[in-house]
């Protein structure tokens, strides 16, 4: 019986990785004062462009690389896509003082469309494609990276001087500006970093965890990551716990389905219901960075 429980926990850990990565990215972004609700779109784009680039380079361009390198190519490609989209959102949110929520919605829409369109146009199948074997990789390495990243981010935000600067931008940008901080630049970089992580989370989904690219591969995880940021009270250490809880419910739903305990569709709603309950409970004591979501204007 304990074997079963251990297996469940083990699976929960792997299920938690995409949420953890995206949450960590968003924590960094929101701590600097920008809100990016386009995580879902970024995940989709990362999940798609990773394998796509590898496939393209290998089969269309005939590039030859040692086997272990291909997953890295995929990760790099998705990180790049994340960076570009993140730069766009970051630029809109800071220097152009645009509406951050609308921009995030746009990214989600674009991501959904681009991935659905891309799967169809590149692989000629509708909405569902098995990831080619050469790009697939073991999830353990990325999972370890995610945990290490959580530790690093905690250290960065709370123990280094750069962390002080980042947090100042999110709490009181005027005061920070008066202290000589280039608020817009800090926010831009934090947004890019966050977007890269969200895209990597997507890449993990397609090349390491689910081994498929579908037009729905993220299944709401981007928004669950947003909820996790609140649950974690913008603290990377707590984000690990939160991601694990969500991962647990995610695996639980698959388990229940495999064991035939409940109908497939009912099990699929478990993670979402859990998210709602957790967010409703958490929001009372959570304290967001004071200036998050508001563009910064110098007087």
């Amino acid at each position: 019986m304990t074997d079963l429980a251990l297996l469940l926990l083990y699976q929960a850990l792997f299920a938690s990785v995409p949420i953890l990565l995206a949450s960590l990215g968003e924590i960094l972004t929101e701590r600097s004062g920008v809100v990016n609700i386009g995580l879902e779109g970024l995940m989709l784009l990362g999940a798609f462009f990773g394998p796509l680039t590898a496939d393209f380079l290998k089969y269309r361009l005939g590039l030859s690389l040692p086997d272990p390198l291909w997953p890295l190519v995929a990760l790099l490609a998705s990180a790049l896509v994340g960076a570009v989209v993140g730069a766009l959102h970051g630029y809109i949110s800071t220097y152009l003082a645009g509406d951050q929520i609308i921009s995030g919605i746009a990214i989600n829409l674009f991501g959904a469309g681009a991935v659905a369109y891309g799967i169809q146009s590149y692989w000629g199948v509708a909405g569902y494609k098995q990831v080619p074997d050469f790009v697939k990789t073991d999830p353990t390495a990325i999972a370890a990276f995610a945990l290490a990243l959580a530790a690093f981010m905690w250290f960065l935000l709370f123990k280094t001087r750069l962390g002080i600067v980042i947090r100042a931008c999110g709490e009181d940008p005027e005061a920070a500006f008066n202290m000589g901080v280039d608020v817009d630049k800090v926010r831009l970089f934090a947004t890019i970093a966050g977007a890269v992580l969200a895209a990597l989370a997507g890449a993990y989904l397609s090349i390491a965890y689910l081994s498929v690219v579908t037009k729905e591969v993220s299944a709401g995880r981007g928004f669950i990551a947003l909820a996790n940021v609140v649950f974690a009270n913008w603290n990377p250490a707590l984000a690990v716990a939160g991601a694990f809880i969500f991962g647990f419910f995610d695996s639980l739903s698959y388990w229940l389905q495999t064991l035939g305990v409940a109908r497939y569709e009912l099990t699929r709603i478990i993670p979402y219901v859990a998210t709602l309950l957790i967010v409703a409970g958490a929001i009372g004591r959570a304290r967001p960075p004071r200036a998050v979501g508001k563009a910064f204007r110098k007087e």
Partner: protein, 474 residues
């Protein structure tokens, strides 16, 4: 040294009209004046937070220009603001360290030691690793002082430092100021409280309405100081006719309002009768804002608030009363929209007529009722608010700093409206820090200090000097 500084803000207020000031090292200069006199603005220009519209700043004889506070700090000028500018969510130490820029290294031991040393030199201790949000305001102020000194401040500006302090903390603050002077640094001490000036200042400069109204050296004559601050009392204006009635339009019983764990309004009880103007005077920040918000329903309070016959509300900031993106006519009916509805639907033609009348009656300079409010000037926006509120024909009028930032003619006009409404039977709760205004209009004056009403009585019995002292907590 500041010379001939003018400052006009983006909303049209001419805050400083040519002020010149000299400061030498090792001296404590008190900048005295009422709220709105321009003291904070002047110092914010000196410390780099604002830029002057015209005028120059010289340091050691050389002209300088500051782009932000950090640049001013390079020249050794630092300001400790009244609403402290520490960044919440960061610890005290982190706030000091912020100026050292980014980098992956943690805060150095050296910084920590130096900071502790400065604190010791000034005679106090601070818990450096606690989030500043959790620190009491008195401690936060000390952190700001240490921060300024760590980064090499030679001129320290303290803006209304005692508003947030308890009496024993005030005593230790005076000690700190003395030690700063002994250390050869210059201190500019902004205040409106005369007793403090008597304690610490080597020199007193009085500002009134954006101009220097007087400069004094010890020994200080309190009456002369008050006169320079407040100016002569304004003469006539509209006459109050009739006595306050018996019925009450507003009853407040034992009202308590809490903010951040502290009680900012402590057991206030008051009554405004028909045909009465009750003026609550006091320095801003003694709970007046929260009192008004609790009465109006924006803030929750404990206690009883009873309003008889509807209310009109003029807030201290017109942004609290207007919807800048909407048109003038839309703004004109906020809170009254159901009066313009015939069978569930609002008749916008009626509203347009009403708004046009308002424009005419209240002399609002605007292209028309369909003008978007954010394009109106500040003064006209205020007139719109005043016009709307007086058109409610409510029994109770709550006016919070109704003439702040308005020119003389408009101020007179608003005063006239208030008195007329009162004469027609309305009760007015006037919350103001302008004593001229209070004395001109009020039937009854109450003084608010640190959340309590510390004095109240008919205007004939409340002498200016007595009230002034009560406002200062004496």
């Amino acid at each position: 040294m500041l010379r001939n500084i003018h400052k006009v803000f983006s909303d049209g207020t001419h805050a400083l009209r040519g002020v010149s000031l000299d400061i030498s090292p090792g001296e404590v200069v008190a900048l005295l004046g009422e709220n709105g006199a321009g003291k904070t603005t002047l110092m914010k220009i000196l410390s780099g937070v604002y830029r002057p519209t015209s005028g120059e700043i010289y340091i050691d004889g050389k002209p300088v220009k500051f782009k932000n506070a950090r640049e001013a700090m390079k020249f050794g000028i630092a300001m400790v603001h009244q609403h402290l500018s520490l960044i919440p969510g960061l610890t005290a130490l982190e706030n000091v360290a912020l100026l050292s820029g980014g980098g992956l290294s943690p805060i150095s031991q050296e910084l920590r030691q130096k900071v502790a040393a400065i604190a010791q030199e000034l005679g106090f201790e601070v818990e450096w690793d606690r989030d500043v949000e959790e620190l009491p305001l008195g401690v936060r102020q000390r952190v700001e002082i240490v921060k300024a000194l760590y980064w090499g401040a030679k001129l320290l500006i303290l803006d209304e430092p005692t508003t947030v302090l308890s009496p024993p903390e005030v005593k230790s603050l005076f000690q700190v100021v003395k030690r700063l002077r002994e250390g050869g640094r210059a201190v500019v001490y902004i205040t409106h409280k005369i007793p403090e000036v008597l304690e610490v200042a080597d020199r007193v400069v009085v500002l009134r309405r954006g101009l220097v109204a007087g400069e004094f050296k010890p020994p200080y004559d309190v009456d002369k100081l008050v006169e320079a601050m407040v100016g002569r009392r304004m003469a006539k204006g509209v006459e109050r006719v009739g006595q306050p009635g018996e019925g009450a339009v507003l009853e407040v019983e034992d009202l308590w309002v809490y903010e951040g764990g502290r009680a900012v309004v402590q057991g206030v009880s008051l009554r405004v009768r028909e045909r009465e103007i009750l003026a609550i005077v006091g320095v801003e920040g003694n709970g007046q804002e929260q009192l008004v918000e609790a009465i109006v329903g924006v803030r929750r309070g404990r206690g009883v608030v009873k309003i008889h016959g509807g209310y009109a509300y003029i807030p201290d900031d017109r942004h609290k009363a207007l919807l800048l993106e909407m048109t003038l006519m839309e703004n004109s009916i906020v809170g009254m929209e159901d009066r313009f509805a015939k069978r569930w639907l609002i008749s916008w033609r009626d509203v347009e007529q009403f708004a046009s009348k308002l424009i005419e009656e209240y002399n609002i300079v605007a292209p028309g009722p369909r003008a978007v409010v954010k394009h109106l000037s500040g003064g006209n926006q205020q007139k719109l608010v005043v016009g709307r509120e007086f058109s409610r024909n409510a029994k109770l009028i709550i006016a919070h700093q109704p003439t702040r930032g308005l020119d003389v003619a408009t101020t007179e006009f608003v005063h006239g409206l208030i008195v007329e409404a009162r004469n027609r039977g309305a009760g007015v709760l006037l919350v103001t820090s302008d004593l001229d205004e209070a004395y001109k209009l009020a039937d009854t004056i109450a003084v608010m200090f640190k959340g309590k009403i510390v004095a109240q009585g008919p205007v004939e019995e409340m002498g200016l000097e007595y009230v002034g002292r009560k406002m200062a907590g004496l």
